[in-house]
Symmetry: C2
Subunit: 238 residues, 2 copies
DNA sequence: GCTTGTGAAACGTTTCACAGCA
DNA sequence: TGCTGTGAAACGTTTCACAAGC
């Protein structure tokens, strides 16, 4: 069987092959950025856009844009570019955001409660259907944008996941509790975790994990500021 | 002049060269992860650690760990491994977190106020010295962990940056306002921005930018969940 | 024995350059 | 003419494998 041919046929819409048999992960990340730009363009009633211009908006080359999109199908129109609404629909379908995702949140601290009020989630199809904490003072509170959500005790975690058929979880607990809660989420059938705890998590291969360590991002920023300053000095001296 | 020799001498502690003359960006990102693990090990009074074990903690190979660290110097001890406190000090020095960074925050919405209370920043040396919003209802409020910080009007942005010698900014304003505020920050001399607005920002080359789009992270998670489910199906069929 | 640091090979990603199509 | 889709080349990153050191 020829990988180059039969493989591409088989996977249809959800990801073509490179030599390795996979779509490059950086390409998947950029897909979200393309979608974000395309949605902004759609707001401005823009009908079509060329790879060159879409790339410029994001600081990428035109070839990069075309190759990224080509991993998933032939969405462009030679001589015209990409039709905005058409491409938005394709990318949503690829990313899986053409439907609703039932999500839960664990840890109703400062960050957790802020996320319960975050509008950006719902508008992309992520619906937070339950929120948990183990602090008795918080349990029973109604949090988030009205009508709001009641903070439930952690004991109800497993039952809620099953009953409400929850697919992904947002983890905002302290680092020390993160692995333990993650284990319970996985055991209860959760297939994806967005982790905000500054802690490495171990999850089985069939569970997806994305981590956001806010302090770590500032740390990286600090490094790059230092590097930029040094580069500027070198330029100045020369 | 031989790049391989003279270049390495010249840059001393802050980044050695690969063929391209730069430290790989992924290596810099992992440096923060190594630091996080090392700090946890230090808490547990661990004295030394081998590249193999440090890698295992993060799902990386031993060679990766050694190569990453070797970009910045010779920190290991053959037959022994890396001394934990020693390596922590080196990495902090490399990342620039062996000192305090004066930071400001713009946009005191749900996320912004949550970040003002986030303990993880201060413990890494990031001190938020001022907070801004343009909503008259919020201006004057005291927010964050006691003693707290007064929300200032946006007009005072430039003056505050100069007076308090602020080096980096956290941007939590709505997408529509983000570029405009970023421009003001840059003009006022800010050298690094951590952007939480779901919006592409353009900043000059000498300003560092890190972006965190929370909805985008969930979107990526959704994709990987879909991909995992498809992979499982294929496995099951075969 | 065990562990680092590092050239060289393998691998993955991006860019180039152009055939093909509107 | 303008633009996409795509092999091939260039580039960057990771892994391998081993000399050198404790």
């Amino acid at each position: 069987m020829d990988t180059e041919d039969a493989g591409q046929q088989a996977r249809a819409e959800h990801g073509r092959l490179n030599r390795n048999g996979r779509v490059p992960i950086p390409a998947v990340r950029r897909l979200s950025l393309y979608l974000r730009e395309l949605e902004a363009l759609h707001q401005k009633d823009r009908q079509t856009i060329a790879s060159r211009e879409l790339g410029n908006l994001l600081g990428l080359t035109d070839a990069q844009v075309r190759k990224d999109l080509a991993y998933f199908g032939q969405f462009g129109h030679p001589g015209v570019g990409y039709r905005v609404t058409e491409l938005i629909a394709h990318i949503r379908s690829i990313l899986g955001t053409d439907r609703t995702w039932r999500t839960l949140l664990v840890g109703a601290g400062h960050l957790g409660t802020a996320l319960l009020s975050y509008r950006g989630f719902a508008s992309k199809g992520f619906q937070i259907v339950a929120a948990f904490d183990n602090d008795p003072a918080k349990i029973g509170m109604i949090v988030g944008t009205p009508p709001g959500l009641e903070i439930l005790p952690l004991e109800k975690l497993e039952a809620t996941i099953t009953e409400k058929n929850v697919q992904m979880a947002i983890l905002c607990v302290p680092a020390g509790a993160a692995q333990q809660v993650a284990d319970r989420l996985v055991a209860a059938g959760i297939k994806g975790i967005l982790n905000f705890a500054p802690q490495t998590l171990n999850v089985p291969e069939d569970v997806s994990l994305a981590s956001v360590d806010l302090a770590l991002r500032l740390e990286q920023l600090a490094f790059h500021i230092c590097a930029n300053l040094l580069a500027a000095e070198r330029h100045g001296q020369q």
